[in-house]
Symmetry: C3
Subunit: 140 residues, 3 copies
């Protein structure tokens, strides 16, 4: 059986936004017991990651590394219509994840103790982001 | 219900190749209404990405960044049997995607306006690439 | 139909560990014929990759590149509670894969000839890693 919702996440600029709660809400509404939840952001300048949820310095350090992986305003970029963070955002999206698939059982996400789900906004400005949540599994 | 096809993509060397149309064709044939499509390339020297589909400079700039992420002919590589692009191709595959899962509804892919699906050939020479498309969902 | 197992992988420190056999075992037990297998590691300091399985130098070279992507003990890291490999491990996890989805048919994984499945331990010390394997598909 399948349950599908689109949820909106308002970001306030570059950084990570916890989405565990909103995903758990959709999973609860699905009333499914066991299977896989697929998350999909409908954008090419933000992405999804699973990372350590306890120490916010982890996400701060990821941001520092992302500046190496895909610097803002790199002199080689031709695509800069929306500013120095435009191409950097597309590249950071490509090397992280547009889509994540997470197993669940007994109606709960099978995340490890330290795993948090985050939407990573790569643009400097805030954006309204659409996230498609598709729950596929067995009924309770 | 499940529909599964293998499609072949002929590349003509390093670069990105739009695969939206071929995926939509398989989805149409499946006659499924709602669920998730899984794409899987059966190779370790090309990959799949979702990125901006309007300005080709985005993919050109990604190529420039990939030369930082995994340069051709890096002096540290031991694996160079098939040339300077051999190991670079494996590495670029690992930090992008062998597999993508995309939701669909009413028989249509739930891609955002600017999202395109691309096979990224990382080898300098053209290759025939096999892509497994598995549609899982509810019947119409 | 869905079959779900949690398997434990004991690592002995940084490096790659072949997991094809353990995944094939779970797939066999599921008795499902066609669909998608989802792999999910419940950790933020190891990850999953699909890469060339013939020449071990490929994985050695990936390790060398990972030292560029996310160096141990980078001076910018604030998160270093568990040592110089702590933050590097989280970052390497984020740019590779916590989750992989692989199609199967006739009860066999649809991997290409040279594709191997690996758990990549990013910590210097060995760890016991939990891997959730969810098989979704049609019965035989």
């Amino acid at each position: 059986m399948i349950h599908q919702d689109v949820v909106q996440i308002q970001t306030s600029g570059r950084g990570t936004y916890a989405i565990d709660t909103v995903i758990r809400d959709v999973l609860g509404k699905s009333r499914l017991r066991r299977g896989v939840v697929n998350l999909f952001v409908q954008h090419t300048s933000c992405s999804l990651i699973i990372t350590e949820n306890a120490d916010p310095d982890v996400r701060r350090d990821l941001e520092a590394l992302a500046a190496d992986w895909a610097p803002d305003g790199d002199s080689r970029y031709r695509h800069d219509l929306e500013g120095p963070d435009d191409m950097a955002a597309h590249a950071r999206s490509v090397i992280t994840h547009t889509s994540l698939s997470i197993p669940f059982s007994d109606g709960g996400l099978l995340l490890g103790t330290w795993q948090g789900l985050f939407l990573w906004e790569h643009r400097q400005a805030g954006h309204l982001r659409s996230l498609v949540v598709t729950v596929m599994g067995e009924a309770r």
